[in-house]
Assembly symmetry: C2
Homo-oligomer: 188 residues x 2
């Protein structure tokens, strides 16, 4: 969080949440956001193409971070262990921005266009994860199966983390979901 | 397939594939489609709101069919077994329309808007599946976890089915993925 104080990009992202929450995403203006950040509209457009990008710019960072962790997992790691390494670094990044993530999610949940964009980002995350597993030598369809499973774990753990009254750490919820997988996947 | 011959709705859906494939989804017109089906544009709009709906109208049927099978699985079925019953009826429906599904998928794959729509439909399928499991008494987060896992299986099996040179049945590919799940999910 600390490094966000200094840079205009981070300040704008944080400043956008209040107008999006208070006035709704569609009604909030770039002028509102810039004013709250103590910056100009021109500066806003130097960092973001539009209002929506403010909420999704972080997903590139998340995707790159996840792919990096999967790629650099030990060669001996199983596909699901390598994928888990990716989920964990993503979870740790979001954990550092918990309040931002929570407010952002409430905004996204209220707007169908933003929900669609979120689905697209998640599909992209899943594709990147499968690609990275393949580059580790995991064959198809195991790479796609593992990636779908891992992203499913991530989605459910994310929903729980965002709404958890006890504020349990995201990585803990991921671990819990992963432990349940073989049990839930086993047919009678 | 047989019952499609008689009804205008089915004839229009099948007739749409050629212009979408040949001219691209964006360039094809409702006039093209109606002409190929031997019907009027007016009839088209009595059945479909727009060009896109022709490709997605079947997803309601698929979702209802899947939910019905999950709901009516034996009370003793585990969550994944109940979900599998849903996947199987969906797979059987698509199997009967294999050529349509294959051509449709090639059209969807080429168009970003259609791909987005497909993601939304899949997310809706996952939500419906989780809802239906909860109505069977499956608690959270097990219902969401099982649903995400099942939809992941469905996605990967669908991709394989659509592109499989050996034309293996969809249900067989689903079974194969389900059998692999506990293995892939087990960490070392």
């Amino acid at each position: 969080m600390a490094r966000w104080q200094g840079d205009a990009r981070g300040r704008l992202a944080k400043a956008a949440l209040a107008p999006y929450s208070e006035r709704g995403f569609d009604n909030a203006t770039v002028a509102d956001i810039a004013q709250r950040a103590g910056l100009t509209e021109r500066t806003f457009f130097r960092h973001y193409a539009d209002k929506r990008e403010v909420l999704f710019a972080g997903s590139h960072e998340l995707e790159a971070l996840m792919a990096g962790a999967v790629a650099s997992a030990p060669a001996s790691a199983t596909p699901i262990d390598a994928a888990t390494a990716g989920l964990n670094v993503a979870a740790e990044l979001l954990q550092q921005r918990r309040e931002f993530a929570r407010q952002r999610q409430a905004i996204v949940a209220l707007n169908p266009d933003l929900r669609e964009r979120e689905l697209i980002k998640l599909a992209s995350l899943s594709n990147t994860l499968a690609d990275t597993l393949r580059r580790r030598g995991v064959d198809e369809p195991a790479a796609s199966r593992t990636s779908e499973m891992a992203i499913g774990v991530f989605k459910v753990a994310f929903e729980r983390w965002i709404h958890d009254a006890n504020e349990r750490p995201f990585v803990e919820l991921i671990r819990e979901s992963l432990e349940q997988l073989p049990i839930l996947a086993g047919t009678k």
